[in-house]
Structures are given as structure tokens and as C-alpha cells.
Amino acid sequence: MSTARADKRLYRWIDERYGVSPLIEFLRHKEVPLGAHPLFWYFLGGTTLFFFAVQIVSGVLLLVYYQPGENTSYESIRYITTKVPFGWLVRSVHCWSAHLMIVSLVVHMLSTMMLKAYRPPRELTWLTGFLLFNLALGFGFSGYLLPWNELAFFATAVGTDSVKSVPVVGNWLLQVMRGGPDVTINTVYRFFALHICILPILTVGLITVHLIFIQRQGMAPPIAKHVAPRGMRFFPNFALRDLLWWILCLAALLVLALLLPYGPGIPGVEWELGQKADPLAPAYPGIKPEWYFLWIYQLLKEFPPHLFGLEGPQVCLAVVSLLMTTWALVPWLDRKARRDEPSPAFTDFGVGAMLFITFLMLKAWDIGAGAVADGGFPDPAAVARPCAWILLAVAVAVTAVRIAVYRDRWFVFSGAAVLHAVLHGLVGLPYLAAGAIAAAAAALATGFTVARGRTSAMPAGGGH
């Protein structure tokens, strides 16, 4: 009993000084909407935050031994994994959690896309989330180089090289990123500063803004349902569920980190240290970036040397920038959702984008290539065919669920992504030609549905 009194006294002591009662009162009334969609989708942002916290803790632990430098970067990581007690575990946790953080971030972003939570007044929440996604990619890209091993060296050489295609300042930007014309240990110094100082500061700042927005506006209610949904009290009902979920995440993270300390061994999801970087060694087949960059890596391969009077990589960079910008501007493009009406076209836009990226990732993994002789390369047609079949199977499964469970009736974008894969993988057209036909077909179909005045949203330039 006396502890309860002591608790009260402590609370009073704090409250008198800092006035926390309004805060407690506020938390009592904070609610999470219930019943509209599975509660699960509301856990993903918190999951991402959890893995970010793990990154900070494990990253600071790595910093105790890691030393960037020509003769220390690689050696210190090797020391961590072979000599330092549990060093292998700390590195394994940092790497696993980096991947899991990006997975939960992507799923979080897709779930807000599907729920149209980005519609007014939450456009800036989407935009800050999009920027956070870019920062997370920056974390992955800069961290990848730090061990200064062969794989990291080439992946960074290729990854930074595309910067030279930026108009006007491209070459200067490339030099600033690399600390010289080529990837050297100077690049490691610059990436190190980014990875452990600049990006963390920016990320913490943006997370704060993102959370303040959410705090001020509450969770988005379901679209086109003008009744107030039931709610679950955030505190303690939701917060305790959050905590339980985090404990499960931590358990899963530790199991993975213990059982597979060097990753599952899929190209793009492995972190075997391998050989030390040697700028004078030729690149070898199988140089791949991390999985979330694989689609860009594959897209680079699909572009011919020259297109429209520009160099292939320049056009590729322009295409990727256009796609990313479109994604960032979705809250403004989706006019139906702006009017709080169901917006099936943008649901399908999200699914179509995922299918597009999945197909590129499957191709990047050379699925179906079989054994390849040294110095040889898998036959592109032999890779494209099984990838197209897999994509077709995935698309059929997803579409079946969408029709049966969500009663979706709008499939123009996902249909175009499938058409693209079929024309390329099964008919044998070049990737870009197939893509152009699929894009034209999607544009025609969209124009047709709009002209018929059906209840379908237009993604861009739909007019009023």
C-alpha cells in the first residue's frame, strides 16, 4: 500500500513541476480507428521505428571497433566478426535489422497507399514518409561500402556512377560523393560521415515531424465511409499490443541473426565479408546491390547504349526519377481520394508498381539461368521466360484475392504490368518495346474508362 502512496506522491511531485496531467488526459482520449481494416496495418510504422532503434543501438556498438581507413575498414570488420566476443552477433543484428527495417518500411508505405491514408489533410505525412524511405535507402547504400570488401566496392562504383547523368552538376556531384573521380578509401570516409552522422540526424528530425503530423491529425478514417468508426484506446490498449508485437519482432530478429549470421545467402541479401576491395581487380559476375536496389540495377541492363540521342544510363536515370516523383506526388494526383471517394485506380496503381518491380527483381536474380560458364552470362531469353511465368502466377493469385475479398474491379495498371512481362518473357519482345506497348495499352484503357464516364479515377491529368 505504501508503494501506491509513494507512486502518487512521485506523480504529484512531477505534475506540480511539469504539468503532465493534460498529457495523460490527452493519451487517455487518443484512439486508433477499429473495424475498417485489419488492425495489423497500424503496427507497421511502429515496427519500422523499432528496427530503426535497433539500428542505432547496434550501430553505436559497431562504432566501438569500426575504423574507416585503407588498412582498417576491412580489417576492423574482420576483427569484429572473428575476435570480439559476440561481435559477429552485433554485426549480424545490424545487417538483419537493416533489411527488416526496409521491409517494414515498404509494407508500411504500401498499406497507407492501399488505405488512401495520404488523402487530405495528410499529404505531408505521405511526403515526409517518402523522404524517410529515401533516407533509409541512403542508409543501406552508404553502410554497404563501409566493410570495404570487393562486392561493396563494385556495387558502389556502379551505384554512384549513375549520378554523372544528372544534368549540369552531374560530374561535380559524382566527385563530391566519391571524394575523387573514382571510388577509393576517400569514398568510405564520406559515406561513413553520411552513415553515422548526417543521415541519423536527418532521419530523427524527419521522424519527429512525421510523428507530430500523425499526432495532430490522428489516424486516417476509412475512405468514403462517413460514419465515425469505432476506436480503440491508444493507451494502454493499443500501446500494449504494440509492445507485444515489438517483443515478437525482437525475438524474430534474434533468431534470424543467430541462425544466419551472414544472411539467407540470396544475392542482395547477404553480407559475407569476402575479399578486401582491390581497385585493380576486374569485376566478376554476380556483383549485385542490395535487394531494394535490384530493380534499378536490372533496369540499367535493359537500356540500350543509346536512346533518343541520349546515353542509355541517362534515360534510365530519368525514368527512375520520373517514377519516384510520381510516387511522391500520389496524394495530389489521386483526385478521387481527395474528394473522399473510393479510388480503385490508385489501388491498382500500387499493385501494378509492385508487379513491375517484382518482375525486374526476378530477372536480376537470373532465375532459371542454370549454371553459367566462367566469364559467360546467362541467356537473357532463358531468364525472362521463367520470370514471366512466376510473375503471371503471382498476379493471378493477387488478382483472385482482390476480386474475392476486396471486390476490386479496376485492373488496368496491374494488367499492363502483366502484359509487359508476357510480351517480354513469353513473346520475346525487347524489355523496353514490351514496356512501351503495355504503357500505351494502359493509357488507352484508362482513357476509354474515363470517356465512358465510369466510376474510375484518373491518375494524372484527369481534368474535372
Binding site: 563494385f154 562504383a157 556502379v158 556512377d161 549513375s162 561535380w172 566527385q175 563530391v176 566519391r178 571524394g179 575523387g180 573521380p181 573514382d182 576517400n186 581497385p279 585493380l280 581487380a281 576486374p282 569485376a283 566478376y284 559476375p285 554476380g286 556483383i287 540499367l300 541492363k301 537500356f303 540500350p304 547504349p305 543509346h306 546515353e311 542509355g312 544510363p313 566469364g375 552470362f377
Partner: protein
């Protein structure tokens, strides 16, 4: 018209505004300029004249038919073709900058990153590289000493 209403006050305000803007811009420039200069790496200077290959690089060419050697700030691929002729080309792929290698079996220079292929004159034969590899002068004297000039 409002110009004539109170010319003195209006012009004083606009002059002050201009001064203030110029001041802010000047202040920004004086902060940004040193930062930009600081971040821009210094140009690297390497030896200008011919560079002589080391013993181990020469051995490597004998064994593998090629070696990648640093010349100035460039990486140069020195290879011995099927006729025993030496050739020197830029080792940095013109696509996205991976390091190329020589495949003696096919008399080709290949880049493993995105399957770029070049012939021994550096011309692109397949894959995405947009430009040929630069070629450099290379000589071998009677004692087997190899020199590359870029």
C-alpha cells in the same frame, strides 16, 4: 499611381528590402561557397610521362595475358593478344564504371557488371556501354620492360 502617393516612404522601404535581400544572399553565398569548395575534391596529379610496369605486373601479363595497372589516376588494362602484341586500354567500363577484364579465349574485353563486351580496339560489341574504351600507347623494349603512356 501609388508611386506618387508617398514616393519617399515607398522607395525607402523598397531600398531597404533590396539591401536586406542582397545582404541575406551575400551571407548565404559566403557560407555556401567555402563549403562547396571544401567538399570538392582536389584534382589528382599523377606522373605525366610513360609509366613502367613493375616486375609482378609483367609476370601477371605472362600468366593471365592481362594486368590492370594504375597509371596516373587511371586504371589501365594491359593485355597481350593472341599474336603476342601488347595493347593498353582504359580499364574503366564506359557504362557504369566497373573494372573490365580480358578474356583470352574469346579475344574479348568483358565487363561483368552488366554484360558489356568490347573488342581489342575498345569498340563496343555487345551490352549497354555507350562509348568505346580509350586506348593508350604501350611499348615493350628488348629487355621485356613495358611502358604505358596515357
Amino acid at each position: 499611381m501609388s508611386h506618387h502617393a508617398s514616393p519617399a516612404r515607398l522607395s525607402r522601404r523598397s531600398v531597404l528590402n533590396v539591401l536586406l535581400s542582397v545582404g541575406v544572399l551575400g551571407w548565404l553565398a559566403s557560407v555556401l561557397y567555402p563549403v562547396i569548395r571544401y567538399l570538392t575534391p582536389l584534382p589528382l596529379v599523377g606522373p605525366g610521362g610513360p609509366v613502367q610496369l613493375t616486375r609482378s605486373e609483367v609476370t601477371k601479363i605472362e600468366r593471365d595475358k592481362f594486368a590492370i595497372v594504375p597509371v596516373g589516376r587511371r586504371r589501365v588494362l594491359v593485355l597481350e593478344d593472341s599474336e603476342g602484341e601488347l595493347r593498353a586500354l582504359d580499364a574503366k567500363c564506359t557504362h557504369e564504371g566497373c573494372t573490365v577484364k580480358y578474356m583470352p579465349r574469346d579475344s574479348l574485353i568483358v565487363c561483368a557488371c552488366h554484360n558489356g563486351r568490347f573488342d581489342l580496339q575498345g569498340r563496343v560489341v555487345a551490352g549497354p556501354p555507350p562509348k568505346p574504351l580509350a586506348t593508350y600507347a604501350v611499348q615493350r623494349d628488348e629487355e621485356g620492360v613495358i611502358k604505358v603512356t596515357v
